[in-house]
Structure formats: structure tokens, C-alpha cells
Amino acid sequence: MTRMTALKRVANGVGLVVVLAIAWFVTQTTPTEEEWQAPIVVSGDLGETLTGRNIEAVVSEVRIAESVTASNGWAGPTSGVWVVVDTSVSSVVDDFGVSLGTAELVIDGITYSASERPDDGTIARAPLTTAIPLTGPLMFEIPRDLVESEAAASATIQLAVNSDPRADSLLAITVDLSALPLLPSVETDEPIWGAL
């Protein structure tokens, strides 16, 4: 074997190793289907206006109560507690077929959807208008012992247009539920369409 042939073989071997290393890196870093379809999260705090692709919202107040009475007279008895979230929300670019389809409270990885039982006393699933806010309450019914848990300190309110926020904006507001007092009852305001 000449020296040149030996060098060629070594170079081929190194080339193969490099190709295999690149293939391994690509395999390891390729996003999974769940990852590339995941919502694009826009995080913020209470009172902060958050803007996504086609949703803008501000959560102004969060309360916890043993019972809640909506503006339309609906009263919600529960063995748990109600988390009442006052929110103002609008679409940003287009309101064709757009509603507040995702309104969730996530505590310790468990997702609670906003109750639709209060009907027009809540803005859950209400249609949105471009640049004209809809302001009103969202009510979440959660187990009583959850508000005293450690996980309640980092609860997240998630808002998005339509019910499937994959590959679209998801507004996420972190709230410390454990720091809020448990009120005996809460009466919510009537949802208002228009600037406040």
C-alpha cells in the first residue's frame, strides 16, 4: 500500500465519521411534531397588555371566591372554588370567525377551561372584534385544596383565538393564586364591548 492510498483511506474514514456525526446532530435537534406545531407563547404579568399574531389582551384582576354571581343572574355553586379573571381582549388583524376559544387556567400541569355555564355573563368563547376590546369575566372552577398548594403560586392563565392554538399565539399570564384571599362571594360585571 502506498503512502497516498493509506492517506486516502484515512480521509475517507474521517469523512464518514463527520457525516455520521452530522446525521446524529440533525436527528437529535430536529423538532418533534409536537414542538413544531406548538403555540407561540407570549408571556406577561397581570395588568400588562400582551399582543400576539391576532390576539391582544390584558388581565386586570384575579379573584378567588367560594361562590360567584354573574351579571345575568347566573349563580355558580361549587364544592371547589371559583377563580374569577377580569380580562379585556380583542383581535389584532382580522376578526372573521375569531372568538376567545382558548381561555384556560393551568396549575401544576393540569388545565382548567373557563366555564361556559354563565352564558353571556362570561366572555369565554365570545366573538372578538379587531381593535375593539371586549371586557368581562372568565370563571374557572377548581378544587378547593389546589389554591393552597405550592403549585398555585405559579398558575398560568392562557388565552388564544379559537380552540386550537397550535402554531399560533398563546398569551400566558402568570399569577400567584396562593397570595390571593378566598372571598365568600364575587359578583361579576356585565361584559362590555368597546373601549373603557
Binding site: 388583524v93 372573521f96 370567525g97 379587531t130 373601549a195
Partner: protein, 185 residues
């Protein structure tokens, strides 16, 4: 190295051509079906002019913008910070016989801005929005396929009061997608 390139020239050219071609073919199918099922090709019509579309003639005959702060706006129970835009469209469905259907359309209102004059905000028809405005007697509130004679309809849009006057009606007929009429106001 040069020799190796020469020896493998055909294979290298094949890879250089086939790899991007494969990507293009894979994505073009999805991309073209996305584009053809959405209103992506506007037929722009200058203010006041008529246009033929889906076998019918369309013309914006009248527009009106009412502030929520005005007397009429208060009467119409408009939300604060909004304007009501009324757009009256004349439709000539063409030669149809009883039993035929004229075009069914969807109308939206766009606000246009920027060097490319693109729609930055779009509002849907406010027919079911809960405002207290009713179109006058004898005037339709949207496209009416059952009418085969010339008629007019008035669409209502509740838009933000900071929207400019550079507005246009996007008139879609599902059979004509991706083409749609952009009637400038």
C-alpha cells in the same frame, strides 16, 4: 480533489438539482392548495366604478361613516371607540331566469396602509354584533342569491375609530377563490 469532482460530476449535479426540486415539489402542493382556497388574488376596483365578477356587476353606490360619539352612533348603540361604516353595493346579477340563483358573497372591510398598500386590519360584517342599527326597508343586508333582478344591499361594519379612511371592501364568492373583488371606498 479536482479529479474527484470530475469523476463524480454527474452525481453532484444530480444532487444539486434533485434536492431543491424535491423540496419545491413537496412544499408547492401544500402551498398552492393553501393559496387557492384563500382570497389571495384581489381584483382592485377604483372608487365608484363597477366591476364584473362571478357573472354579476358590482358597484359601491354609497358609503357612510358614523362615529360612536355622534347622535346617530349613540342611537345605534355603537361600542365606545368605534365607528359604524355603512357600504351600499349595487348588484346586477345579469341574465337569470326564475329558479336560478345569483351570487352569494361574503363581505369584509379592510384598512390599507404602507408602501404596498396592504390590508393591516380587517373587520367582518356586523350584522349579528348586537348594535341597534337596521338597514332601511327594502334594502338587503347582504348578498341575496334568491334575488335575480338588480338590487342593492347595505353591509355594516363596526371598526376602530382610529382606522384611516383608506378602506376597501373585500367581496368574496367561494367559487371564484382565490380571486376576490377589492372595492375601494
Amino acid at each position: 480533489m479536482k479529479r474527484w469532482v470530475k469523476q463524480n460530476a454527474v452525481a453532484l449535479v444530480a444532487v444539486a438539482v434533485l434536492a431543491p426540486a424535491t423540496v419545491a415539489v413537496t412544499f408547492s402542493t401544500e402551498w398552492s392548495s393553501f393559496l387557492t382556497t384563500r382570497p389571495t388574488q384581489p381584483i382592485e376596483v377604483a372608487e365608484g366604478l363597477a366591476a364584473e365578477f362571478d357573472g354579476a356587476q358590482w358597484r359601491v353606490a354609497h358609503t357612510e361613516r358614523i362615529s360612536s360619539a355622534s347622535r346617530e352612533g349613540v342611537d345605534a348603540a355603537l361600542p365606545a371607540g368605534s365607528d359604524l361604516v355603512l357600504v351600499t353595493v349595487e348588484v346586477d346579477p345579469g341574465t337569470l331566469t326564475p329558479g336560478d340563483k345569483s351570487s352569494f358573497c361574503t363581505v369584509r372591510l379592510g384598512e390599507y396602509e404602507g408602501p404596498n398598500d396592504t390590508a393591516v386590519r380587517i373587520w367582518g360584517d356586523a350584522l349579528f354584533s348586537g348594535i341597534d342599527y337596521r338597514t332601511p326597508e327594502g334594502v338587503e343586508s347582504g348578498c341575496s342569491p334568491d334575488i335575480i333582478e338588480p338590487y342593492t344591499f347595505t353591509s355594516t361594519f363596526v371598526i376602530a375609530d382610529d382606522a384611516s379612511d383608506n378602506l376597501g371592501v373585500l367581496l368574496q364568492v367561494s367559487d371564484e377563490l382565490p380571486r376576490y373583488l377589492l372595492l375601494r371606498l
